[in-house]
């Protein structure tokens, strides 16, 4: 089978997103909302003004980091759906470092990021280990998401509960030295953004130019051939899990150190970044570098979802509908990339 042309792939991808947005419009009609008003609100409030643009930027950061990692994982046929939990563990490790470790000033921020990477990576390694005994990683990473939420709640309500906390539960504020700098007047923590851009490009290089990337692609595209060539799919899966989980962990570290400056409830740390990043990676067709385009795109949908909640009083779950429908249209359209449509009997 010859590789489909890039133009055809792009065309089908764009068409499937358009179809997805039309289907979502239908759901809004069912819910008694005017699709024009919904889409108008989303676009005006995100791309239409500087504050909105900054909000998109803020959400692009975790999506870029996680999406780039997932792009790699999907190429190796490692279906990591647990980025949400890996992000939370990254946030936990980062918070623990910022709050409790005596690290001198200049080293604190790098230490916070490193801790985030380790936290997320370890959480994903659990799934990689379970895969060795034939536990499907989609199920294990999903279960680990729920466990991570419980862990965060336990920490902020129990041993890590802040001293000045009344009513809500969260930890003490991190020392100033662990706060990430932001573009002035926004919540765009640029060190994490920079890290995301560098890692997306780095992973693209790794995937297309390195021996490990070659092994990864062979394992993903033809496990049988990989086995005969002596490539260990277990080793590839373990490394991929560590990398993608680590990147999700970095995203978690960025969220708590760049925006919240404390560990707080799971639903406040992540707006479902782990699931939305699945679409970022799928839209990018498994190319980490292309996430530089697709992450801001999904950033618009997440920031837009927030606006729908405030302006139109819609539940934030609307974002799940967007994510689900776009994902479904994307994978259902793949057949049109590989085969030409011919009407009539085959």
């Amino acid at each position: 089978m010859t590789a489909p042309s890039a133009a055809r792939t792009a065309l089908v991808t764009v068409a499937s997103v358009v179809v997805a947005l039309l289907i979502c419009a239908l759901v809004f009609v069912l819910a008694g909302q005017s699709p024009a008003e919904v889409y108008g609100t989303m676009l005006r409030g995100t791309l239409g003004d500087p504050t909105g643009l900054a909000e998109v930027g803020r959400r692009t950061i975790p999506l870029l980091l996680i999406g780039a990692g997932l792009a790699l994982a999907f190429r190796a046929q490692f279906f990591n759906i647990g980025a949400e939990g890996q992000l939370l563990l990254g946030a936990v490790f980062a918070a623990g470092t910022a709050l409790f470790l005596p690290i001198p000033g200049a080293l604190l921020v790098p230490a916070v990021f490193a801790a985030g990477f380790v936290g997320g990576g370890l959480w994903a390694l659990v799934a990689a280990a379970l895969r060795r005994v034939n536990v499907n990683e989609i199920l294990s990473t999903l279960m680990l998401n729920y466990i991570a939420v419980a862990l965060v709640t336990y920490l902020i309500a129990g041993p890590w509960k802040g001293k000045d906390v009344r009513g809500y539960i969260y930890t003490d504020t991190f020392p100033q030295g662990a706060w990430l700098p932001t573009f002035s007047g926004t919540q765009v923590h640029w060190p994490t953004l920079l890290l995301g851009v560098a890692l997306a490009l780095g992973l693209q290089w790794l995937l297309t130019r390195s021996t490990f990337g070659y092994a990864l692609r062979v394992v993903g595209e033809n496990p049988g051939a990989a086995h005969y060539a002596g490539l260990s799919s277990t080793r590839v899966a373990t490394l991929v899990a560590l990398l993608t989980g680590g990147l999700a962990g970095l995203a978690g570290a960025g969220e708590v150190a760049g925006i919240h400056h404390r560990l707080l409830e799971a639903s406040q740390i992540s707006l479902g970044y782990g699931f939305t990043a699945v679409i970022v990676a799928w839209l990018a067709r498994g190319n980490p570098a292309l996430c530089l385009i697709t992450a801001p795109l999904m950033g618009v949908i997440l920031a837009g979802g927030d606006l729908l909640k405030i302006d139109l009083n819609l539940p934030f779950r609307v974002v799940d509908i967007f994510s689900g429908v776009i994902l479904l249209c994307l994978i259902a359209s793949e057949v049109f990339i590989r085969h030409r449509v011919k009407w009539g009997r085959a």
Binding site: V27, L30, A31, F79, I81, L130, V133, N134, V135, N136, I138, L139, S140, L142, M143, L144, Y146, I147, A150, L151, T153, Y154, A157, G158, F275, V278, W282, L314, P315, R317, V318, V319, D320, I321, F322, S323, G324, V325, L327, L328, I331, A332, S333, E334, V335
Partner: protein, 297 residues
């Protein structure tokens, strides 16, 4: 019988009911070779559809409510059937999309039902000092019927052959695509029924996220019970009992409550790992998760 034993059994049966119904649905479509990870979403739309119909008026038909739930579950799984059987999309990712669409749509469309009363709750049956939901009885009967149908009837055998060796079934004149579509629709209807139990009987209300991960546990349960409907009864009871323990021990021990909320998910991992070590994952239908293309091996 000791009252605490009865209480444990009653509660285990209650929580086990949606697990069993959803698990039977998943067994049905997986035996035909199609994985559907969208159970959580189909349960959510089922719960909403049932609640929407039953809360309309005090004399709304409960049969209509249950029917609406099954229809809603089947309609959502219809998307999965088109995507995976007709367009041969990746079954795992499509199911995931379905879970997102279902929980999202239920949350959006169900917002206006939040906090509303249910006029028409399904009444439990009382046998002495033992109460049981009609849904539980139905689930147990359905498990027996599905087991019988899969093993002892011609059409059941046809369904299994499509999951084990679609190419051979095709040669013998079985319509592989149609069989799979029907199995997926049936699985969706059963997941919808599981949702109806939650909103009409178990919680008798509507709230966003009321499925709370039960759908995912049902998906894992299928592997644990080795794709066998009768074993699913035991599996569902086992997890139902764990939920009961969670409820009993909460507040009565020094263990933090979060440990209990994480418990079912930790146990699913342990149970799946045990099933994997014992080689039970090898009981899966041979063609599970793979699209069938005529002429391709």
């Amino acid at each position: 019988m000791d009252s605490i034993v009865i209480e444990a059994l009653v509660r285990a049966l209650a929580v086990g009911t949606p697990l069993l119904l959803a698990c039977l649905g998943a067994i049905l479509n997986e035996r035909a070779g199609v994985v559907n990870l969208g159970v959580e979403g189909m349960m959510a739309v089922g719960a909403l559809a049932a609640f929407a119909v039953a809360s309309k008026s005090p004399d709304a038909s409960l049969w209509a409510a249950v029917g609406a739930a099954m229809l809603a579950g089947a309609a959502l799984s219809g998307l999965h059937a088109v995507a995976t059987v007709t367009l041969r999309a990746n079954q795992f990712v499509s199911g995931l999309a379905l879970a997102l669409i279902g929980t999202g749509a239920a949350g959006l469309l169900g917002k206006k039902f939040e906090g509303l009363p249910l006029f028409n709750k399904v009444q439990d049956w009382t046998l002495g000092n033992f109460t049981i939901s009609p849904f539980t009885v139905a689930a147990l009967i359905l498990a027996a019927l599905l087991a019988f149908w899969l093993t002892a009837t011609r059409s059941g055998l046809t369904l299994r052959s499509v999951g084990e060796n679609p190419a051979a079934a095709d040669v013998l004149g079985v319509n592989v695509g149609l069989t799979r579509v029907l199995a997926v629709l049936g699985g969706g209807a059963l997941a919808g029924l599981a949702g109806a139990f939650l909103s009409l009987s178990y919680r008798s209300s509507w709230a966003d996220n009321m499925t709370n991960g039960l759908g995912w546990i049902a998906v894992a349960l299928v592997i644990f019970v080795g794709w066998r409907p009768l074993r699913a009864i035991a599996g569902a009871l086992f997890f139902g009992f764990l939920y009961y323990l969670q409820f009993r021990l909460q507040g009565n021990s020094n263990v933090p409550t979060e440990v209990f909320s994480a418990m079912p998910f930790i146990l699913v991992l342990v149970v799946l790992a045990l099933a994997g070590v014992r080689g039970q994952a090898g009981d899966a239908p041979a063609a599970l998760g793979r699209a069938y293309v005529r002429g391709e091996r």
